[in-house]
C-alpha cells in the first residue's frame, strides 16, 4: 500500500463521521477519479465478515464498522442499552424516509393519529430534520431524514432504503392510478406527494 492509500485508511479510521469521497479529494487535492481506485483497494482489503470490522459505505461516505454478526460480543462491551424504537416512532420514521419532504399533517393522515410528540422525539434524537416550509397556505414545516438517520441504519443514501413490499391484496381495478403510484414509491418521492384530504 502506498502512502496515500495508507493515509486514506488512517483518515477514515480517525474521523468521527463518515468521510465522503469529496472530502478526501479536498485533503489530497486531487480528483475523484484518482481516489476512487484507492477506496476500492481499501474496501477489498477490509471486506465485511473477514477481520471483525470492515470499510462500509454509509451516509454518503466511508467508515469503519464492526461486522453485524458479532453484535452479541459487542453488546457485552456496551454497558448502555441500545436505543429502541417504539412502533410509533419506527412507523413515523419510515413514512418520512419514503415520502420526504413530508408535513406533520401528512404523517398524521397516514397514521391516523396525532404525531407531534413522535416527530419531536425523532427530531430530538437527530433522525429527522426540518427541510423548510411547504409552499401551501399555512406554510407547514416539511420534514426529512438526516444524515445521522443514514448512518444509524447503515444506508449509503436514500436509494439504499429497503424497497417497499407490494401489497398482494391490492386490487388493480380499485384505483389503477393509485396502485402505479405506489409502485414508484419504493424511492423517496420528492415531488408530487399528494396532499391528504383532511376535512
Amino acid at each position: 500500500m502506498d502512502e496515500r492509500c495508507r493515509a486514506v485508511a488512517a483518515l477514515i479510521f480517525a474521523a468521527d463521521r463518515p468521510l465522503s469521497l469529496d472530502r478526501l479529494c479536498q485533503f489530497f487535492d486531487c480528483g475523484r477519479a484518482e481516489l476512487r481506485p484507492v477506496i476500492d483497494q481499501l474496501r477489498q482489503h477490509y471486506p465485511i465478515s473477514q477481520t471483525g470490522f470492515y470499510l462500509a459505505e454509509v451516509a454518503g461516505g466511508y467508515q469503519f464498522r464492526t461486522d453485524p454478526d458479532l453484535a452479541d460480543w459487542l453488546n457485552k462491551l456496551n454497558r448502555e442499552r441500545p436505543f429502541r424504537f417504539s412502533q410509533a416512532a419506527l412507523e413515523t420514521l419510515a413514512m418520512v424516509a419514503y415520502r420526504q419532504p413530508v408535513t406533520r399533517g401528512e404523517i398524521e393522515y397516514l397514521r391516523g393519529v396525532d404525531s407531534g410528540g413522535v416527530v419531536k422525539t425523532l427530531l430530538d434524537k437527530g433522525f429527522l430534520r426540518i427541510l423548510g416550509k411547504k409552499d401551501v397556505p399555512g406554510r407547514p414545516l416539511m420534514y426529512g431524514t438526516s444524515k445521522y438517520f443514514l448512518e444509524f441504519f447503515g444506508l449509503k443514501d436514500l436509494n439504499d432504503l429497503p424497497t417497499l413490499k407490494e401489497f398482494s391484496a391490492l386490487d388493480p381495478d380499485l384505483d389503477p392510478e393509485q396502485s402505479s403510484d405506489l409502485e414508484n414509491e419504493s424511492l423517496p418521492a420528492v415531488a408530487g406527494t399528494e396532499e391528504p384530504e383532511i376535512s
Partner: protein, 255 residues
C-alpha cells in the same frame, strides 16, 4: 367472536382496523363493512366499560365506519359521471389502509437493518490530542436544533422575557423626565405611586435609579412624616430649573 384486545396495543385506528381485517381473513379490497364496524365498535365499547380513555382518533374512525356502512346500504345510482371512488364508499378507507400497511411493513424492514450500537459499532476511542474544546453533538446541527435552542432559552427566562417583548426603551434619563413630569405643578406623589401594578422588574429598578439620581441632583425632595408612613416625593426646584435640566445616560454614568 370475542375480541380481547386492548387499544393500547394499537398504534391508532388504522392499526386496529388492519388487525380486525386480518383476524377475520378478509380481503382488504372487499371489507365486510357490517362485520368490521360491529367488531370495531365492540372493541371501543369494551374500552369504555373499563373506564379507559378512548382517544378521539378511534371515535372518529368509528363514525367513519358507520357512515360508510350506511352509504353501502343505499342503492347505487348508475350515472355516467360517477367515478369509481363514488361507486364504492370504501375506496378511500381501503386506500388509507393499504398505504398504512405499506409503511408498517417499511417500518419493520427498517428495523431489520443493522443499527448503530445495536448490531454495528464504531470506533470509540478518541485520541487525546483530538478535540478542540468545541462541544460535540452526535448529529449535525440543523434548523431544528436552532429553534430548539431558542425555545429553551425563552423557557428559562420566561418572566423577564415576556416583559421585554412589550417594553420600549428603558433608560434612566427617560424615567427621570417621567418623574419630573408627574411632579410638575408642585404635586406631591406617594413613593408607591411610581411603582404601579404590572410594571416589570426592570421598570421598577430603573424608576428607582431615576429617583436616586434626582435626589443626588437635588431636583426632588423625599419626605416621610414618621416611620412606616407613606413616603412622599415632590419637586425641590422651580419649574424653570426643571426645563433647563440636561442629562444624558453618559453623564449619569449609565452609558
Amino acid at each position: 367472536m370475542s375480541i380481547e384486545i386492548s387499544l393500547q396495543n394499537f398504534d391508532g385506528p388504522l392499526d386496529l382496523l388492519l388487525h380486525l381485517i386480518k383476524t377475520n381473513e378478509m380481503d382488504i379490497a372487499d371489507i365486510q363493512m357490517v362485520e368490521i364496524t360491529e367488531q370495531y365498535l365492540s372493541v371501543i365499547d369494551q374500552m369504555r366499560q373499563l373506564n379507559l380513555d378512548v382517544a378521539g382518533e378511534f371515535l372518529l374512525m368509528a363514525a367513519t365506519l358507520i357512515h360508510i356502512k350506511s352509504r353501502m346500504l343505499l342503492p347505487v345510482i348508475d350515472e355516467a359521471e360517477t367515478d369509481e371512488e363514488e361507486l364504492d364508499p370504501r375506496a378511500e378507507l381501503v386506500r388509507r389502509l393499504l398505504e398504512y400497511q405499506r409503511y408498517k411493513d417499511a417500518a419493520n424492514s427498517l428495523n431489520l437493518q443493522p443499527c448503530l450500537n445495536r448490531e454495528v459499532f464504531l470506533r470509540q476511542y478518541v485520541e487525546p490530542d483530538i478535540g478542540n474544546g468545541i462541544a460535540d453533538g452526535d448529529f449535525s446541527t440543523g434548523i431544528y436544533q436552532l429553534a430548539s435552542a431558542f425555545h429553551q432559552l425563552l423557557q428559562q427566562s420566561k418572566v423577564e422575557f415576556v416583559h421585554e417583548v412589550v417594553r420600549e426603551q428603558l433608560s434612566v434619563t427617560d424615567f427621570i423626565h417621567r418623574i419630573l413630569e408627574r411632579l410638575a405643578g408642585g404635586k406631591q406623589l406617594a413613593f408607591t405611586d411610581f411603582f404601579l401594578n404590572g410594571a416589570s422588574r426592570q421598570e421598577m429598578v430603573v424608576t428607582f435609579l431615576a429617583m436616586l439620581e434626582l435626589v443626588k441632583m437635588r431636583m426632588i425632595k423625599i419626605s416621610q412624616s414618621a416611620e412606616f408612613q407613606p413616603i412622599w416625593l415632590s419637586l425641590a426646584v422651580s419649574e424653570d430649573e426643571v426645563e433647563q435640566l440636561e442629562c444624558g445616560e453618559e453623564s449619569l454614568g449609565y452609558g
